[in-house]
Each structure stands twice: as C-alpha cells, then as structure tokens.
Symmetry: C2
Subunit: 371 residues, 2 copies
Amino acid sequence: MTGPRFPDLIASLPATVPFVGPEELERAQGFAFRARLGANESVFGPSPRAVEAMRAADAEIWKYADPSHLALKTELAGRLGCGPANIVFGEGIDGLLGYLVRLLVSPGDAVVTSDGAYPTFNFHVSGFGGVLHKVPYRDDAEDIAALFARAAEVDAKIVYLANPDNPMGSCHPGQAIEEALPLLPEGCVLALDEAYIEFAPEGTAPVIAIDHPRVVRFRTFSKAYGMAGARVGYAFGDAPLIGAFDKIRNHFAMNRAAQAGALAALCDDAWLDEVRGKVSAARERIARIAADNGLSALPSATNFVAVDCGKDGPHARAVLQALARRGVFVRMPFVAPQDRCIRISAGTEADLDILAEALPEALAELREATD
Amino acid sequence: MTGPRFPDLIASLPATVPFVGPEELERAQGFAFRARLGANESVFGPSPRAVEAMRAADAEIWKYADPSHLALKTELAGRLGCGPANIVFGEGIDGLLGYLVRLLVSPGDAVVTSDGAYPTFNFHVSGFGGVLHKVPYRDDAEDIAALFARAAEVDAKIVYLANPDNPMGSCHPGQAIEEALPLLPEGCVLALDEAYIEFAPEGTAPVIAIDHPRVVRFRTFSKAYGMAGARVGYAFGDAPLIGAFDKIRNHFAMNRAAQAGALAALCDDAWLDEVRGKVSAARERIARIAADNGLSALPSATNFVAVDCGKDGPHARAVLQALARRGVFVRMPFVAPQDRCIRISAGTEADLDILAEALPEALAELREATD
C-alpha cells in the first residue's frame, strides 16, 4: 500500500525541532535539573492573582474559551492605547509568528532575520517555503540598518527584529527603531518581537503609530508575567493586518483558564514591578558569579544574561555540558561569535546558589581535561 | 505608505470564522444564556482528579510544557495498544486537522468531505488553497461508499469522515469502515474524526492496523472528558505520517496544566463511565421533551441530539432563535435537508428543565407569528 502524498515542500522539511525541552534532556541524562535556567522562564512565577483566576476557571474548563478573547483584548487595548481590533491573541508568540509567516510568505519569498536570532521564526519561514536571508549581528546586537538594507536588496516580505534581543540580551533604544523606520522597504512587514520588553530600560519600546501598515509587534505572558506554560501571546498593529489573522488562525486554540489568568496577571502591576526587581537583582548576581570565575557577563535588557566563556563555541558548549552534569540547565547561542557565550536565565537566590557552586567546578573540570 | 503584500490565496480568503462563540452571541443579545447547550461541551465537567491536577500545575505555569508530551503519550499508547510514535497531541482536533491539511494539501489539490459536515475542517482546506468536493448525507449519515468513490474520482489527497457524525449524531458500525477501507484510493488519506467515539455503542470504532499508511484518527479531551477549554486533542496512526506533524507543528503550543489535567482525566475510567451514563439519560430526556412537543429526536451516538423541527431550515432557525430569546443556546446543521433540525447538547437536569419550559413557549410563539 502506498502512503500519503506529501507535497515537495513538506517532504523536504527536516524532522528536527527548534528547541529540545528540558524534560527531554532530563530523560536523556537520567536525572532532573536542580536549577532550570535555560528557557528564560520566569522562576518567580505568575501573579498570585493569576494563579487564583486559573484555579477558579479550571472548574469551568468544560466550556470552550471565548474565541474572540474580548475581555483580555479590551483590558490590553486600554493599556496600549489602541482598539481591540488592533490586537490578536494566540498560542504564544511562536504560534503568532507562524500565522504571520503563513499570511505573507509564499514558497520562494524572501525573509530577513539576524544570523543566530530566534530559531522558531526560521522554523516557520522554512516550513512555508520562504527563503531566509541572514544578517550578522554587530557588536552582539541585531543590526537594524543592515537588516532593513538587506530587506530592500532581496525584496523581503518580512524582516524580523527582536528588541531586546534573544540570545544576547542586548537592546536598541526605541528611538533607533523609530529613526530607521523610514528605511523599512515598501511591501516589507517589520515583525518586531518584544517578548522581553518589560525587562528593558525605559525608552526601549519605540513609539510607532498603531496604524503603521507594515509594523506588527509581538509580546507575551511567557516572560515577565511568568506564564510560559499557559501559552498566551499577542500581536498588535494596524487593524487590516491584525484582522487578517482571523482568516487563518485556530480560533478556539487558547486555553480558557490561561485567558482568565492572563487577564488577572495583566491587572497586577505590583507583581510585575516585583518581578522586574527580582530579575534585576538576579542579573547582577549572575554577573558577579561570572566575574568571580574570570568570565564576563554581557549587559542584559532581558531576564537572562549571556556570559562570555572567553573562547569559542566548542568551549562554551563544554561549559554548558559540564553545568548540565551538575544539574544546571542553561542554553547557548547557535552562531559564532555569539556562541562563545552561555545564556543563563534569571534564577531565584537558591537557583543562583547552585550556579555559584557548579560553575567553578565545571570550569575546573574543563581545565583538568585540557591539561 | 503601502501595506503588506498578501499572496493571492490569503487575499481571497473570507474573514468569516467557522463558529461564533456563545460569549459573542451573549454580547450581541445583551443577556447570558441560562442553558448552554449549543457547543456539545460536557456540562458534567471534567474528572475531579483532572481539576485537581490542573490546579496543582497552575502554580508551575511559569514552566513551558514538555513539547513532546511524553507522559501523556505513554499512558495513551498503553490504552490504544500502540507506541508513543503513533500519537501526536495538539491544540484540539481543530489544530490537528489544520496541521494535517497543511501537510498534504497544496493549492488546487482535491479534498472530499460530506456536505454539512464539520466546518472547521473546510476552513483549513480553503485556508491552504485546497478544493473541497462535498458528498451529500444519505439518510442523515455520512455516506462512506460515496465519499470514497468521490475521492477516487477527483484524486483527493484527504477524505474526511466523522464517526459518529456531527451535526446529526448518527454513526456507522466500525465494521462498515473496515469493509470500505480497501476502496480508500491509493494516495488518499482517510481523516477519521472520532471526537464523539466515547459516547457511541460498542463496535463503533473500527479495527484498523495502526500502521495502515493512509488512515489517521482524531480524538479529543473536549467531549467525553469535559475539557473543551483546555485544548487537548490527539491524532494517531502510522508513525511516518504522525512523525510528519513534528515538521510543522507549534511544538510548545499545549498548555502545561492542560497536559496534567488530560493525563489525570485519561486515568479516571470511573468518571468517564459516569459521564456516559449521564449523557445517555440526557439524550433520552431530550427525546422525551421533543416528543412532548410533537417533534422527533434522531438517534444519537454522541453527547447531543438532533431534533427534527418538522419543516425546513428557516423554520428550524426560527425555533433556534426563539429558544435563544429564552436563554437557551443551541446550534443547527448548515445544509438541507439536515437543517430541518436543531442540535441540542446533553445538559444537566437543570439545563433540560429550562429546555422543557422554553421549547413549548418557543413553538407557541412561532405558531402565533404565522397565524
């Protein structure tokens, strides 16, 4: 019997996935991580009000959620100073990036991103047959001028920019994006990923008119709001572009309790401030731990810190693996020269105690191995 | 400034959605439904163990869920008698149907379904540029022989069959599908939607080898397990076809608490039995209420009952609207002659008390209007 007839594009896709989850790494290594500092989750958790709202909603989980997410959109629109029609919610930024690519990219269309930037965006572009053009980082930051120039050169449908950036934690002042915007080519949409914006210095979010026809911004409840497992992200921008998501999205995809939790989280400004403070303290402590071990931490506008291990990619990977053997889960950039670093998420005091203990041991092990 | 450049396919798609949620209907009518009997949700709720598991997981919602869903897959594989590699979980059957269509359908490819069957499947087919060929129902049931014959005729990539069927509640014995299977055309995948299988008589699920290369079956936690708001569905079938979902799916899309809840729900067989009993009693009561009002209920293998309103589509729609004015939410089939019916989900005793009160009033109102 013959099997399914996959189109050429699908047949050509690799079966690899953008990220291996820590649970899978734990299964492979045979023990659990003691410090989960690799996925830029918020170990400080969600607002207690969000937990309460989710628990109340769990009893009504037999109901489908409102597919138009109106309560959540209305609250958020007030905060963003736009209308509900300027906002679309989805299954994390990951899901929304997939929808954006599907909306714009036909097989063979050009898309521009930075070499070493968010791989899940690339996964979606390849998955819809787009052709990725990658611009190198410049001084460990995404290079806005070069990205826009390349977009013009290759007639890109989308240019992706994360600000703050993942995996380096760098950021541009919003003004830099505002000033570059006139150079965004006609016919090219700027996908501005602001997943980490709540951790960045004031002024990092650019001021862009909500009805700019070719800018769409992405934010999430997975980072500062501590709800990565809930899967709530949103995109906002010009109503015609945002409205187009309704043509293709999985309307009933968002969890009902997650919606209730996100609404409660959004309204708890005090919790957000508290998390920001804890993240800031954790960043400083990670930098101190790095310095204590002769390594240097890069400045961070996010809830993680890129720590320069002082040599090349294979060395940083060896540090990462030596940390994993000691129960510390971290990740690292994919591309040189950024892959000289490991990427450590902001942890609790207890998490960072473990890091402080494990890092010198890991480095000592590597020194012995090369002696 | 020019806007985004949408490909022709996207530009041609309507902005309409497959279903309007009851919350949106409530906003439009200005009052809440007293009986929510339109979305085939399980008003009897999830297993208390599932609620407990979700509440426990809510505190850890800051962690991304395991993107490989291994705990859930392993438990389910044992119950289905297959391997974890034969199962893929996703954001409800809706999400998984979208992935299946994306995996197989290029613009212009033929897809076969029944005229009046699940509209969200059609939404995905149109969304990926597939060409839908619709086969009429036969005796208020999907016509397996005609579906497979049409699939051969139009060289379809996918043929969709729901057993039990939605919106009529009819079902074929599994043996009928087993016997038809040799006629499934080479190169055509059978998408067998078994969302309601837990409510159907024994023998409704066909016995099909898990490694049949062109059959993929869909089931869900939204119906019998009472977790529609959680968004957990799964597909199972031959490992190469199931594995292909990994090439394109949104790996981190499933809510962490939902995974924990689904695992607990899956293991609570006693609750499932209790729900089945309650649904069976509710079906009988809906049939009695229909009979008391001179209407006839169709036999149902699901958690809803199609009630024949005795005339045509406009009349059934008038009954539906008269019920809505009395706070009773029901839905109805889209296509004649099935649209002579309204579709009423199994409700609690209290829900059905409201139906018993509202239905005669609604019918009386319509009689007066035509007098």
